[in-house]
Amino acid sequence: MESSIFGFTLRHSWRQQLVLLAIIVTSYPFIYLSLDLPKQIVDQAIAGSGGFPKTIDLGFARWELDQIPFLMVLSFLFLSLVILNGAFKYYTNTYKGRLNERMLRRLRYELYVRVLRFPLPQFRKMSSGEIIPMITSETDPIGNFIGESLATPAQQGGMLVVYLTFIFMQDPILGVAAISLYPLQGWLIPRLQRKVNNLSKQRVRMMRIVSDRIGDTVAGIQEVRVNDAAAWHLADMSRHLGEIYHVRYEIYHWKQFIKFLNNFINQLTPFFFYAIGGYLVITGSISFGALVAVLAAYKDLAGPWKELLDWYQLKEDVRVKYDQVVEQFHPEGMRDPAGLLQDPRDDTPLTGDLAANALSFASDMGSKILDGVSFSIPVDGHTAIVGVGSGSGADELALLIAGLLTPSQGRLRIGDRDLPGLPESVIGRRIAYVGANAYLMNATLRENLLYGLRHRPLRPPAVDPARRAVLAERAAESRRAGNVDFDIDADWTDYAAAGVDGPAALDARVHELLRTVELTADVYGLGLLGTLDQTRDPAAAEKVLAARAAIQAELSDPLLGTLVERFDPDRYNNRATVAENLMFGTPVGGEFAADRAATHPYVRDVLDRTGLTGDFLRIGLKLGQTMVELFKDLSASPDLVEQFSFINAEDLPAVQAVVQKVGRDGVAALKGDDRARLLQLPFRLVAARHRLGLIDEPMKRRILEARHLFSSAFPAELRGTIEFFDVARYNSAASIQDNILFGKVALGLPQVGARIHGMLAAVVERTNLWDVIVGVGLDMPVGIGGSRLSLAQRQKIVIARALLKNADLLIVNEATAALDGASQAVVHTMVLEARRGRGLVWVIHRPDLARQFDRILVMQGGHLVEQGTFEELSRPGSVFADVLDPE
């Protein structure tokens, strides 16, 4: 990457910069004309010097004009010049804007490419908190400057020259007076600017520290809480912000001082005009009109001069920023950029032996972690690496074989190919690696599983012909900015690599792998809570409806019947909230959100028309009083209030105030927000749960009436904001479980969860819904870094992903540590079975699991101390036998 902003700008945009320059130079004569013309209008047309008629001679035609038409012709000429100059400015500005954005895109992209190429140890030195602002916010001003880098000096400098030429044409002495102080400014300003530059550098560094601290806090928030370290962090943050404050203030101060100095010097020049120019006019050396024109031109001069100085300050600022960003992106040992995007050259299966010869690896601190390791194992065999004690080197050995680390000495070969020399495109397809730190991307579970099969876009997406031109232009623009033009919407899945022939077979394979790593039940559980878009899969929605009917039959069993209270349009559901009973549906989007229902005009209208408003206010008041009575002493534990009361802890005082106001003035006096607050309270009541006796039988009947009115009068323009409960229709807004149960789960029955689960499982099995639900579970987002899943689940997914990739060699690095003992053994056996006849290297943390492997490498203190089969190594006296059976 170019080491200076100008190198970067010229290399990637010299053509555009030349075009800009050409346009700007073309505009100079017009600017000069627009300066000269006013003088002509005043002197020739209005003052009428030289007499009339005037002759305009263009060579091919000539006109004789009297004073008024001559004035008009000149005036309209002036108007066209104004328009023309405006058009020049508009065009150059848009051109610059496009150039800026394109270059900004290129810069960000190049920095991101560099992140992808960083050697792994670099990530120990740089945190995401530092990298992210560098690529996002710090590049912003740099991009904005690139279009200006040549255009502004050309444009404004050119203008300056034009104005100065004009002044010199009037009188050379005045010209000298006009520029007399420029040398002083040219000497002083850069010296001051240097101070500002140093401060800017400091500011950027400090800001990065702040980003890093924030990133640290976010990542370690649990530690902060359990160690009561908030005060320490706040003090630390306060100090850094304070330092930034001082630096920023200093920068501001100096910038203003530079501005002040410039203004002062600019104001000083007219002094010469008045003194020298006045003297010249009085002595008759120049005309009065010329002095006025010079003064006008000098005023115009101030604009470009100021722009030039601003540009200079911005240039210095951006130069510092660019240097500081780019220097961070030049670590030692970056990966070959060609490996990222080029198709593999020799993508043939890895065969032969995996051979290490005097392999050594030293950490970035220089200490030897692996020392002189030599072995030779068949690539398609099963090898266990057992590390003895801490610092055994087993972990690093696995990372070296996976191509994630580069050996510092010695050779590592597969067949006749050097492993460190293999491009990423070959390693990434031929070798699979599973580490202890199971990281998932913030996408759906399915996408995470297919992650290892997406190397290049393979089949273009189906594109609407109308959009084809737009997409082609987008791709062309990507290329212009030096970005890759691969289509992210294409089908990237390499079915052949996974050993299947298409999406359906891949799906089957994914389900099979979920069983291999014992994850099917978990994904099923996720799927039950997930939603299904029935427009995308109507057949699946049909199946869910069939399951709903089957549950109906199940619930007619008196033992199970009490478990679920089904939605019945003509019955009040005691387990549902008042809001659910009234609307009888699931709100879609925020229109009828349960916590704001009372403010919705349509809800208010229905309440008014059924005469429920008064009752709801009465119930709300009673509820408010009870809540205030119960929870007012608990203000110290807001979570308890939150968990049980109808009111958020911070709203409690407001409700208390409303309750007191009602006590004083009566309900009728309530207005606006206070009234809405009270009216909102009953909506969260669940008759069976809250037992406050506020929803009695007559009230239930009236709410039912309101329900009927609510659906029958439902306005057409609100359609789609509520999915009404309808036993014959699939509810896209509700989870699959809610769709099947079509009702509310009973409260207060023993083991209700387990019993419902059992009942659901039976129905799902009978209606062949299992695969559908697992499919929905696969479409669930896993959260940032897979945080919605447990570590054990993540480890299983990562193993399944590696198996799906179907690589020649699978390296597993202590990746089952989070699983419990029983599932560890099961997963081990299943994976060994799945990899039969294919290469597998497994760093294991339980030596007894090594029994099933063809051969074992025992690592201790960075050395390979023993190797052989399980039988050979378990003879008494060996290191392996010692760790296998410590007693």
Partner: protein, 149 residues
Amino acid sequence: MSLAEEVALLRKIPLFSNVEESKLKLLAFTSERMVFNSGDVLFRQDQMGDAAYIIMEGRADVIVNTPNGPLTVAQVGKNDFVGEIAILCDVPRTATVQAASEMVTLCISKELFFRLVTEFPQMAVEIMRVLAQRLEKTTRQLREAVAHN
């Protein structure tokens, strides 16, 4: 049964007899009402417990596993409080409690119980008093039993 009735019932339980009305209301409101059919198990011996139960209606058998099989050692009924030992001192359930008739109980989770005790110290004092009485009673029984042997 409404909240007011539950409060009246709670009042009759010795553990809560001296606790303020509004606190009892809070306890009743925040705890979950659970219904058991005859034969349902409230909790099993040796399992870890996370809730205690106040019996509002019905009866239950207290069953202890012995080498000779399960043995019913006591019966509990209305106004009794069962399962509190497991939530107070993190030990596995000391006995199995099985509904002997249809039962209505108030189920107080461990978390809620501790929150209330920390929030309202006078409740803790009451509980201490009742536990001390119970300890005194068991000690007396033990002494008598030893004397008999």
